[in-house]
């Protein structure tokens, strides 16, 4: 079965995100004054892969991210979300 797995890489809570801060200070706050508490910017890696279950798809991509340093566990947090795709394409 084909799964579409999203690896979302963000700086950990408590680790600064200057890009998000700059967007908030110079763009977001002037458009939505007083409304926005925080803006964070990260990366998303989308992997479409063959796996026997959602759990396996998530496990394999998490291992991939850890082994090949797709993120730096000291700085980043990783969210992994998999969902089944019908025909393997988007």
């Amino acid at each position: 079965m084909m799964y579409r797995v999203e690896l979302i890489i963000l700086n950990k809570d408590g680790v600064r995100d200057p890009e998000g801060e700059t967007l908030k200070r110079y763009v977001v706050d002037s458009t939505l004054p007083g409304k926005v508490a925080e803006v964070r910017v990260g990366k998303i890696v989308v992997v479409t892969m063959e796996a026997s279950s959602r759990e396996e798809a998530e496990k394999l991509t998490r291992e991939l991210a850890e082994q090949r340093r797709l993120y730096n566990p000291i700085v980043h947090k990783l969210q992994v979300r998999a969902e089944k795709v019908e025909d393997g394409s988007d």
Partner: protein, 702 residues
């Protein structure tokens, strides 16, 4: 609470105070007395370095900030070198980037405009982890330097397994300021306001105190500092804009506000109102505000009537700036939160930790006999070694042209050259030699100063100032400490010999691999020089090859011995040879006799030939004309100092002048345009694969 203070040091604190310090006070003492801030294990020896001279405008007092030398027309050059080794091992991108930010803020602390950066990088083997480290270190340096518009004009990149777990990321910066506008880091009068620009956050808080609060369950967060070059650029621009309105400037580095305030007060006192400190993270405790090491902050001492003017310039950029306290006549450093005392300690206690002189013992180094290696194999191994390949992969990621003053660019010569605002040409070079230092730290200390001096001479410059950075393992290990002492002695002796003042320096201990073995001792010097006569353009062309200096069969502590082991003798540095040979090269440049030249260092004569071979030229060498040893391996790969390789159309001139000066010079061969071969006597070595490797190795590996 975990402190690095020893029980003896804690006793001293209790005795002087006559009471048990509060928690915040322990942290304050811990920060000020840390090796990083206090130089307690190195200071005794650093005092032997010559820090004065006729051109010195501001000598470095207690090794805290950058010094300055006169470069004519009312201008001063500010020079500084620093490393970010440990942060770069954890997070190479941000670690290297914040290292650049830190050194830039040291330069602007003097009111000087940063005009050039150098980066000296040392990593281990290029396995998966090594590649990850190097890619990110280079990208991080580029990210910061490029974003703030300071050109990285030169540097070094060396690969040695001693750095597998502990890469060395050294960054140096040169700045220019008019002589009468240099801003001090310390104050002389009470009543000045303390003004802090920039947010204070969680960054750089001790991992230990964090884990105990289990904020996120991850104890390393405190050790990570995220680089924000955009904020750094605002800090640079505005600090230089307000420099004339303030009495003192200090960067917030290691030890944060605790160290900056105490060192700025310099024996006077200070009151800091912590509730006034602008926070990025509002739950910071007063104790943490004191020691947070958040980047992109500056502390100013300002006359009360100018505070508003200074802060308004920051606010124009939406950048926080607050009056957080004042300098007092009472010599006490007092941090308070809404009037409540958090820490209150005598200035004198904070600034005067008990100094350490650790037991030292020279390691016995068993000399193995020299190895015999077939010449072809040795040539191939040396000439394809990553230390000698083209570094374009790295420097092309740096904006080395910004500032429109980079005259000699990365990869063009042994030194970088930048044009100063007064029209003079400034040459810069950083040098270290872990191979030689691992064999004999004293000879190596001398050798790296001599090498930097020679490197400046290759573009026609004479050294005027240097800064050093001393990188070793744990000073409590007697062999490590002895190497440190020996290296300082060597650097001191050589800089006195060349009459070059040491205007700044740093010490980085505890560089070890994961098993606790020290790295090879890696002291590093960065030398600045001025070109008083002609600039050598050093464009390779056909010509005669002249070798200046004597070649001795000293293969221990060389690239050859790193690759093949063994080694025989260690190179003894004869400074007089370096001085005279440099004089000869500069004279040759000024009289138009030099087409191209290079000092002989890593890889020996063979290494010096490589740039010619890679530009499409063949080289023919007659080994009998390489004088000083009968060993062919010694002739080709010895790295002893005092030598230059010169391309010239007038070899007789060099031999005649060398004879008058009392050194060797001999015509050893020719460079011709029919590229691709190294001919040594009657043996021909094709160089096609060496040349290809030279241009493709880093690009291909990374």
């Amino acid at each position: 609470m975990i402190l690095t203070l020893s029980s003896g040091e804690m006793e001293v604190v209790r005795r002087v105070l006559g009471r048990e310090p509060r928690e915040a006070e322990w942290k304050l003492v811990d920060a000020l007395w840390s090796e990083h801030c206090s130089y307690k294990s190195s200071k005794v020896f650093l005092r032997s370095l010559p820090s004065t001279g006729p051109n010195v405008i501001m000598s470095v007092e207690d090794w805290q900030d950058a010094g300055a030398v006169d470069v004519g027309n009312g201008l001063a050059l500010v020079l500084k070198v620093e490393s970010h080794n440990h942060p770069s091992a954890i997070d190479p991108f941000n670690g290297a980037a914040t290292g650049v930010g830190g050194i830039l803020r040291d330069i602007i602390s003097k009111g000087a405009k940063p005009i050039a950066l150098l980066d000296m990088i040392r990593v281990g083997k290029l396995d998966e982890k090594g590649k990850w480290l190097l890619r990110n270190i280079i990208a991080g340096i580029g990210f910061y330097g490029n974003s703030v518009g300071v050109p990285v004009v030169g540097g070094e990149l060396s690969f040695d397994e001693t750095y597998n777990d502990n890469p060395l990321v050294d960054v140096a910066c040169a700045g220019i300021v008019s002589k009468d506008s240099i801003v001090p880091s310390v104050v002389k009068e009470p009543g000045l306001r303390l003004v802090l620009a920039g947010f204070t956050g969680l960054d750089g808080l001790g991992g230990a105190s964090f884990a105990s609060r289990k904020l996120s369950g991850m104890d390393e967060i405190g050790a990570v500092q995220i680089a924000d070059p955009f904020a750094g650029k605002i800090i640079i621009d505005v600090t230089l804009e307000v420099a004339k309105e303030v009495e003192a400037i200090k960067d917030l580095g290691g030890g944060g506000l605790a160290v900056a305030v105490t060192e700025m007060a310099n024996g006077l006192g200070a009151v800091v109102n912590l509730e006034k400190v602008p926070l990025r993270f509002k739950y910071l405790s007063p104790e943490d505000i004191i020691i947070s090491e958040t980047q992109e902050r500056m502390l100013f001492a300002v006359k009360p009537e100018r505070v508003e003017s200074v802060c308004s310039k920051f606010r124009e950029y939406n950048y926080p700036c607050e009056d957080i306290g004042e300098i007092t006549a009472d010599p006490t450093i007092r941090f308070q939160y809404n009037g409540q005392v958090v820490a209150e300690l005598p200035s004198d206690l904070l600034l005067s930790p008990p100094l350490n002189v650790w037991p030292a013992e020279r390691a016995s180094r068993r000399r193995e006999p020299g190895r015999e290696v077939p010449l072809g194999e040795a040539l191939r191994a040396i000439l394809t070694h990553p230390d000698l390949v083209s570094k374009e992969w790295a420097y092309s990621q740096f904006d080395y042209e910004v500032g429109t003053s980079t005259v000699v660019k990365p990869g063009q010569a042994d030194s970088a050259v930048v044009e100063l605002p007064n029209g003079k040409y400034l040459a810069l070079k950083g040098d270290a030699n872990q191979d030689l230092c691992a064999e004999d730290a004293y000879e190596c200390g001398k050798a790296i100063v001599a090498e930097a001096y020679r490197n400046l001479a290759t573009v026609g410059a004479r050294g005027i100032a240097l800064v050093d950075h001393l990188q070793f393992g744990d000073p409590r290990k007697p062999n490590v400490y002895q190497d440190f002492i020996d290296a300082v002695r060597g650097i001191s002796e050589a800089s006195k010999f060349f009459s070059i003042p040491v205007v700044g320096g740093k010490v980085s201990f505890h560089n070890e691999d994961k098993n606790g073995n020290p790295i090879k001792p890696t002291p590093l010097v960065v030398m600045a020089g001025l070109i008083e006569g002609k600039l050598a353009r050093n464009r390779i062309d056909e010509g005669n090859l002249v070798l200046i200096g004597e070649t001795r069969n000293e293969l221990a502590g060389t690239l050859f011995s790193r690759i093949f082991g063994g080694g025989g003798e260690v190179a003894k540095t004869k400074l007089i040879e370096d001085l005279i040979a440099s004089n000869l090269v500069i004279k040759g440049i000024n009289e138009g006799k030099v087409i191209w030249n290079k000092d002989i260092s890593k890889g020996g004569l063979a290494g010096a030939l490589l740039p010619i071979l890679t530009k499409g030229f063949s080289v023919k060498i007659s080994s009998s004309h390489v004088v000083g040893t009968s060993s062919v391996l010694g002739k080709m790969f010895s790295e002893n100092g005092g030598r230059f390789l010169v391309l010239t159309s007038d070899p007789q001139w060099f031999m005649y002048q060398a004879g008058r000066m009392g050194i060797q010079a001999s015509a050893i061969g020719k460079a011709t345009r029919d590229g691709g071969k190294l001919v040594l006597d009657d043996e021909t070595f094709p160089m096609d694969s060496v040349v290809e490797n030279y241009y493709t190795f880093l690009e291909g590996s990374l």
